[in-house]
Each structure stands twice: as C-alpha cells, then as structure tokens.
C-alpha cells in the first residue's frame, strides 16, 4: 500500500497546472518559471525562428523529458530544480550602475590586477557608457575585414534567420539533441550564442575573441555556439573572459559544436571565470557544458581551456577524429580553490587512419576543493596508426583538497600507440625556500611555480590572453598559501 505523500501532492499540482495550460505572454521580457512545450514554442516564437527550428527544439525537449541527470561525475551539489528556472529573459539593456564609483570595489581591484582598460572595465561591470568612439570604430573595422573575406560571424539567432541552410545542415551534427541531459536541455531552450563560418581556403585574419569581447557582453544562460571551418580554412576563436563574471544565473548549460572540414583548422580557447561562490562555498555557478568538435580529413581541432571559476564544472571538450590524418589537441588548466569542484577532461575518438591526439591537463587544487580529470581515448578498429599522448599532472596545495584522475583508454586496433602518464605532487618546500632566499615572497613564489607548472598550456593561448590568464591563476590561488 502506498500512502499519499507530500511528494504525490506536489506531483499532482504540477501536472494540474499543465492540464489547464497556461498563457505565455511572449511580449514580456521574462518568461514564467518552469519548462514545458509551450515555453519551448514561445522561445522559438520570440526569436522568430522558422518552423524547422521549432520542431528541432521540441524534439530535443521530448528527449530531455525522458532523461535523468547524470550522476557519474565526481561532483556533489544540490540538484537544480528545472521547473524553478525561467528559460528566457531578454538581454537587459539597462545599465546596472550609473557610474563606475558604484561598482563593487573588490571587483574593480580584480580588474586592476588583470590589467583591463577602464572602458572595458565599465562594459564588463555593466556601467553605463558614453559611446566609446574607439571600440565602436574598432568593431566596425573588424566587421568590414571579416565581411571582405566572406567570414560569417554573428549571433546564432541571426544566423538562423540569415543563413538557415548552414545552420540546418550542421546544428546537432556533432552534439545531437539526445547526446546527454544538459545538451538536450540546451537544444530545447538555447537563448542565443555565436555562429561562425569560415569559407573555403580562408584564413581568419584575427582572433575572433577581440570582436567578441567588445560586442557581446552578456552571454546568457543556455549558450549555443556553432563554428564551421570549411575546407582549408583556419580560425582561432576565444570564448569567455578573464574578468570575473558576477552572473545571477546559477545553472549554465552551454553547447559548443565545431566542424572542421577537410584540411581546416580550428583553435578554440576558453577562459572561464564564472562566480565560484564565496569562501564558504555558498552560491556560485553550475557550469555544465558539452563541447565537441568533428575533424574531417587532415583537419585539426585544438581546445585550450583555463578553468578558474564556477562552483561546479562539468565539461569535456572532445574531438571526433573522423577523417584520416586528423589531429585533436586538448590543453587544459583547471584551478579549484575553496569549495569549488571541477570534473573536466576530454574525449578523443579516433575513427580515421593516422589520427593523432594530444592531451595535456594540469589540475591545481587548493583550499577544500576537488579537482578531477576524466578523459577517454578511444581507438576504433579501423583507426590504423592512431597515436595518442596524454599527460595529466595535478598539484595539491594543502591537505584538505583532492585531485583525482579517471582516464579511460579503449584500444581496438593493434597499430595504435597510446601513452598516458599522470603525476600528483605538491609544491616543494625547497622550491619555495629557493625563491624566498632570493627575496621573492611566498605568495609570489607560488605564483611563479604554478606558472611554470601550467606553462605548457598557457603557451597555447593567444598571446594577449596568456598574459591575463597568468594573472588570473595568481588571483584564483590568492590566500591559498598554507
């Protein structure tokens, strides 16, 4: 005999609400909490999407309803209530502050340390700005240069309107709607994101980041990025920002799809510094991201990431090496402090012949944080002469944090050559002593050693960001010297 419990009542009320259906005012700026088919339709309508896109979202929603949240990751957190989230809110155009003096001084101090220009600081903090002639003109110049080359770079909503044939052809090909719980959720409700197409044989003349940083401040909760590099093209794309983002959205479920056609190369760099919660582990962003790239013949995809923020990170940028001679790379630094938890790594799926992959992962844990590397290297039986090298190093600071490695290696081809190595260590007292002796204080010494530890990855970042990322590491580990 089952008793009628509170849970049942809650369940009933929930379904009842749906029974009557509810009216969604698509003119309003923010949708009511909760997720159902009407909401998905409303988001699609709001964005004036064509019918196929609406159907695509609905399909994803149907799959999502059947799925349960993954629990295998080595992270513990309170599960978000998916019915308590508003799935659409129009970007707020009203500035948060009228002048920079109102901005949290702590935030400004961080900006200062990162060496971000005053105008950018204002933009990032959400301060009302006069038209800054410089950046606008810069942006316009960029736009012109890109247009001349035939490069399409716009928000994905615009792309759905303007280049439906490209979006329709490629969206969901690398990360299908039913890929995983968060990817399905994202596919159903994604609000916006970026779209980038590099035509055949074109080498994108600039880091697409620069443009990005000036023009797109708010990124939204369910971001969708689609980058297509046509045959023989090259692009370097930078996502995120070193500046700390004080975002009130707790849950971030983004999807990034990269498609590198024959002979193309995509370099995708990420710096993630979402709000990690305070020192007691309260608050902070949950960052559940699905990133995957597909390489055709002779193509190359390189992921570089610096993860310092978020309370919980769940992220595995992957490469599907479908074409012969394709190359996948993954360079990562994940820093966790206080109560942060990161479960991050990569998947390298070798399908084509002579495919190569490199994985360099550096985990730094401090405070009471948990930092996990989880990776998969899979060599299919047809992938002759596949080559993989993986290295994951962990650095522990203090004995209240943890570093974990979960590498999965599956080889089905005899000509595969796979090497994996992992080490765990701490900063040597002799190293600190050496620095102290030469007049470098302990905090600086640790920064120095950490920088050395992560150099292999920092070197892969576009220059300007490498400098900021270095400082970011320093800031993230501030106060962790024990």
């Amino acid at each position: 005999m089952s008793k009628y419990t509170e849970d049942d009542l809650r369940e009933e009320l929930k379904t009842k609400e749906y029974e009557y259906g509810f009216y969604t005012d698509i003119e309003s700026e923010t949708f009511p909490n909760g997720l159902n088919e009407d909401i998905v339709r409303a988001i699609s309508k709001k964005k004036e999407e064509p019918e196929w896109m609406t159907e695509w979202r609905l399909k994803a929603f149907k799959v999502w309803k059947e799925m349960t949240e993954p629990e295998w990751a080595n992270v513990h957190y309170e599960k978000p209530d998916f019915q308590a989230i508003s799935y659409y809110s129009a970007p707020n155009s009203k500035p948060k502050y009228d002048s920079i003096d109102e901005v949290d001084p702590e935030l400004l101090a961080t900006f200062e340390k990162l060496g971000i220009s005053l105008d950018e600081q204002k933009k990032l903090a959400g301060v009302a700005m006069d038209v800054v002639v410089d950046s606008v003109s810069v942006a316009t110049t960029f736009k012109k240069t890109l247009a001349e080359k035939g490069i399409i770079f716009m928000s994905i909503s615009e792309a759905i309107q303007e280049h439906p044939e490209l979006v329709k052809k490629y969206i969901g090909t690398v990360v299908p709607q039913k890929d995983n719980f968060y990817a399905a959720l994202n596919s159903a409700v994604f609000s916006d994101g970026s779209f980038c197409y590099i035509p055949k044989g074109v080498r994108c003349p600039m880091e697409l980041s620069t443009y990005f940083r000036i023009n797109q401040a708010g990124t939204g909760q369910f971001e969708r990025t689609l980058v297509i590099a046509d045959k023989g093209s090259y692009v370097s794309y930078l996502e995120g920002c070193t500046a700390p983002s004080r975002d009130e959205n707790q849950l971030h479920a983004a999807v990034v799809e990269l498609i590198a056609l024959d002979d193309a190369e995509i370099k995708y760099s990420t710096v993630q510094n979402w709000f990690p919660g305070n020192a007691e582990g309260k608050g902070g962003v949950y960052n559940f991201v699905t990133k995957r790239g597909l390489c055709e013949n002779n193509a190359k995809i390189s992921w570089t990431q610096v993860e310092t923020g978020s309370a919980v990170t769940w992220k595995y940028p992957s490469c599907v090496l479908k074409g012969d001679n394709s190359v996948g790379e993954f360079y990562s630094i994940a820093v966790t402090n206080n109560y942060q938890q990161a479960d991050t790594g990569t998947k390298m799926i070798h399908l084509g012949k002579n495919t190569k992959s490199t994985i360099i992962s550096k985990g730094i844990s401090a405070g009471k944080s948990q930092n996990s590397y989880r990776g998969l290297v899979q060599i299919s039986s047809r992938a002759d002469n596949a080559r993989n090298f993986s290295q994951c190093d962990s650095l522990l600071m203090g004995n209240e944090c943890g570093a974990h490695t979960f590498p999965y290696i599956e080889a089905k081809n005899k000509s595969a050559q796979i090497e994996h190595e992992a080490t765990t260590s701490k900063i040597g007292e002799d190293q600190i002593f050496y620095c102290n002796q030469r007049g470098i204080d302990t905090e600086k010494a640790i920064a120095l050693i950490v920088n050395g530890f992560s150099k292999e990855v920092l070197n892969k970042l576009p220059m300007e960001f490498a400098v900021e990322a270095q400082k970011l590491l320093e800031i993230s580990l501030e106060g962790s010297v024990g």
């Binding site: 004995n399 290696i409 599956e410 081809n413 765990t424």
Partner: protein, 437 residues
C-alpha cells in the same frame, strides 16, 4: 531457472549441510540476503563497464557436486609445482582431497576452512578475521553465504615457513557444469613469512565457474608472497576476489599470471592500516582466442609513509579482450605516500582490444603518485636487429615479449615458479627457448 534464483533457493539445502548454530552462520544468512538484493554485477555498474558476466552465467551450474571424486597424482602431477617440496591443500570439485594434500599443524596451521569453522580451537581466529575485510558486493556476498570449504592458513608469530604452500582446485568434469565457491583465510602474525601458490584447474571441457574469496591479513612486519597461476581450460571462468589487510611495516606481494580460461576477473584489494607498509601487485596476461581477462585493483592508502607498486603487462592476440582498472586512493592522513602504477599493453591482432583505466583519487598533498599506461606494438627496429642476426621472426617476437614481461618475472622469488611461468609463456607463444629467465 536463473542462476541467481537457483543459488538463493539452494541456500536452504546448504543449511542442512552446515552447522547453523555457529556464529558464522549468521554472517552467511546476512550475506545471502545481501546477494538477493545486489545480485550479479551488470555492465551498468562502473566497475563492470567492460566485463559482462552474461556468457558465463547462462549455464545451468550444479551448486553442490553429487559425487566424491578421486584423482591419481600421476594424472595431475603436471599441474603441481612438483619440483620443490610444498605443503599442499588440494580440492577436487570443491571437496578436500586428503590423498593429494599435505597439510600440517606443526607450529603453523595449514589446513581446511571446514575444520577451522567447526573446531573450537580456531574459534578466536575465525571471530577476529573471518569476513572482516571481504566487501559487501554481490559476488563476495554470494561466496560468504556459501562459505564452507577452502584453505585455512594461520602462521603464528616469528615463523618463517620453509616450504611454499600450494592451493589447487581441480574440477573433474563429472558434472555437466559446476560452480565452485572456495573461501580462503590467511592470517600471518608478526614477523612471519609465508609463500603461497594458488591455481584453479579444470580437467575437461565442461564449463566451470569459480567465485573465490580470499582474505589475507598481514600483521606487523609480516611478509606474504602470493602467486596466482591462471592457466585454465577455455571453458573455465574465474572470479577471484582477494582482500589484503595490512598492518604496519608488513609487505604483501601478489603476482597474477593469466594465460588461460574463458573469462577471468581479478578483484584485488589492498587496505593499508598502518605505517610504512609496502604493497606490490604485478601481473602478466597473455591471452588469445576469445578470452577475457579483467584486472580490477584497489590500493587504499589510509596511513602515512606507505608504498604501493603496481605493474601489469598484457599481450592480447586474436579476439581477446583485456581490461585493467587500477584505483589508488590516498586518504588525507596518508602523507608521504608513494604510489606507483604502470600498465603496459601490446595488441597483436586487429580484433583484440584493451580497455584500461588507471584511476587516482588523492586527498593528501605531500605524496608521490604516478601512473603510466601504454598501448603499443613491438619495436620494429628491435625486431629487425634480432632478425638480421639470424633469429627467426617467431622467436624474435617471443624474445621481445619475454623482455616486455621480464620485470614482472624478475620479482618472482621462487625459481621453480619462474621456470614454470617461462615455460607456459613459451608454450603460449609457440616457441621453445633454451634459456632460463
């Protein structure tokens, strides 16, 4: 009837055969309940992701053999390490064979689990050690529920056991399909030293499934050297659950040589409850056809200043599948831990596959932990070198494979075992070698 139901229902029949008033029986009843809940592991469980038991569970195993069977020594001599003098504990279809065995109570106890469970003089040891470290998963619980027979070895303080102890389980094939559940308990007290060799051998092609649990306790400064030789018939499968609980300054070494059998799963668990402990586990796996060998190791570093070494080599031919899942956990208190793990594999055929997952979970900062894992081929230039000196391809290949697995063989302390393993490997590779390794 499903094997699980069959086992659960035959527990009642089992109760008629054992003393149900002994405290051990409470443990058994508890365990069968646990098995009813847990059941057999499936691929959905993370630890069993790469190993499916479906193919071995489908047979209609008889749980209790009907007849007592006898074997003549001359027929089975080749399965013994007969070159050296040993204590022997021999079982035929799960029943003790006094004819083939050589046990002792002279200063040390090398005898039977059934005796230890029933006689009052062993009560204290059984109370203190029996089922104290075996895990509560489905398979171990199943074994605990049916635990009645196996090897019982107790070495008191300050004894150096001169002769190695051989434990061999024969299955005669008199049953169409047989399931065996041997339960071993090995307690080594302070400063003592013992060497043990374990082997499971089927004599016909009838399917056999062995689900064995071995609990090993090494007290202060004790040394245990354990060799598992797994070279069974293609119809026999083995699930080996070994749990080692170590006290301070003790040394436990387990070597696993897997060459035969249909499906082998080795669950090898080390718990370090003391300082300055050394745990070593090494293995060589050379398999072909459709064989499947899964090494699942765990080293739990609980206290400071301990070491662990893992070194597993695998060579996989034909449609064979290898799995290595090594887990090292270093607790917060276990500072100055030195944990090393290596897994090297060679794939010879395009249909062979290897899945490896060397895991580290580290909560202490002042530690040295590393793992390395490779999958590759024999070095072509080395092959060329050997062949240019007139060594035929097959022999050259075998030589390189010997070299590949040599550092595992190197740490084998009993020369007779080393010779035997060398011969088995040579046999496996189809060469005859005229040298000792």
């Amino acid at each position: 009837m499903e094997l699980k139901e069959k086992l659960v229902s035959s527990f009642m029949a089992f109760e008629n055969m054992v003393d149900i008033d002994s405290p051990v029986h409470d443990i058994r009843t508890e365990a069968i309940k646990n098995f009813e809940i847990e059941g057999f592991p499936t691929k959905r469980q993370e630890a069993w992701k790469y190993t499916s038991l479906n193919s071995v569970l489908k047979h209609d195993y008889s749980v209790f053999p009907k007849h007592e069977n006898a074997l003549e020594y001359k027929d089975v001599k080749k399965y013994f390490i007969h070159e050296i003098d040993c204590y022997k504990i021999i079982f035929i279809d799960g029943k003790y064979s006094s004819h083939l065995s050589q046990t002792t109570h002279d200063g040390i106890d090398v005898c039977l689990m059934s005796a230890a469970l029933s006689k009052p003089k062993y009560r204290l040891v059984i109370e203190n050690y029996f089922n104290k470290i075996a895990s509560k998963d489905g398979l171990s619980s199943l074994n605990t529920a049916f635990s009645a027979e196996g090897a019982y070895i107790h070495i008191p303080k300050n004894k150096l056991v001169e002769k190695p102890i051989q434990i061999i389980h024969f299955s005669t094939g008199n049953e169409a399909a047989l399931m065996l559940q041997p339960r071993n308990l090995i307690v080594v007290d302070e400063n003592s030293h013992v060497q043990i060799i374990e082997r499971h051998q089927s004599l016909t092609d009838n399917p056999v499934l062995t689900n064995s649990v071995t609990e090993i306790f090494t007290n202060k400064r004790a040394i245990v050297d354990y060799y598992k030789i797994q070279n069974d018939k293609k119809s026999a499968s083995l699930i080996d659950n070994t749990f080692v609980n170590q006290k301070q300054e003790s040394l436990a070494k387990v070597h696993t040589f897997s060459f035969g059998g249909k499906l082998i799963r080795n669950n090898l668990n080390f718990y370090q409850n003391g300082e300055r402990i050394d745990s070593t586990m090494k293995g060589i796996t050379i398999i072909g056809n459709k064989q499947h060998v899964d090494h699942n190791t765990l080293v739990h570093h609980i206290e400071p200043n301990c070491e662990s070494h893992q070194d597993y080599k695998g060579i996989f031919n034909d449609n064979a599948t290898g799995v290595f899942n090594g887990k090292v956990i270093v607790e917060k208190e276990a500072q100055k831990t030195n944990a090393f793990q290596a897994n090297n594999n060679i794939l010879i055929s395009d249909k062979a596959s290897i899945n490896t997952k060397p895991q580290l979970e580290i909560f202490a900062d002042d530690v040295k932990c590393s793992h390395g894992c490779t999958i590759g081929q024999l070095d072509e230039s080395a092959m060329f070198y050997l062949r240019s000196r007139g060594i035929p391809e097959k022999e050259a290949r075998a030589l390189l494979m010997f070299a590949f697995s040599n550092n595992v063989l190197d740490s084998v302390k009993i020369p007779a075992i080393k010779n035997r393993i060398t011969k088995i490997i040579a046999n496996k590779l189809g060469v005859s070698i005229g040298f000792d390794l």
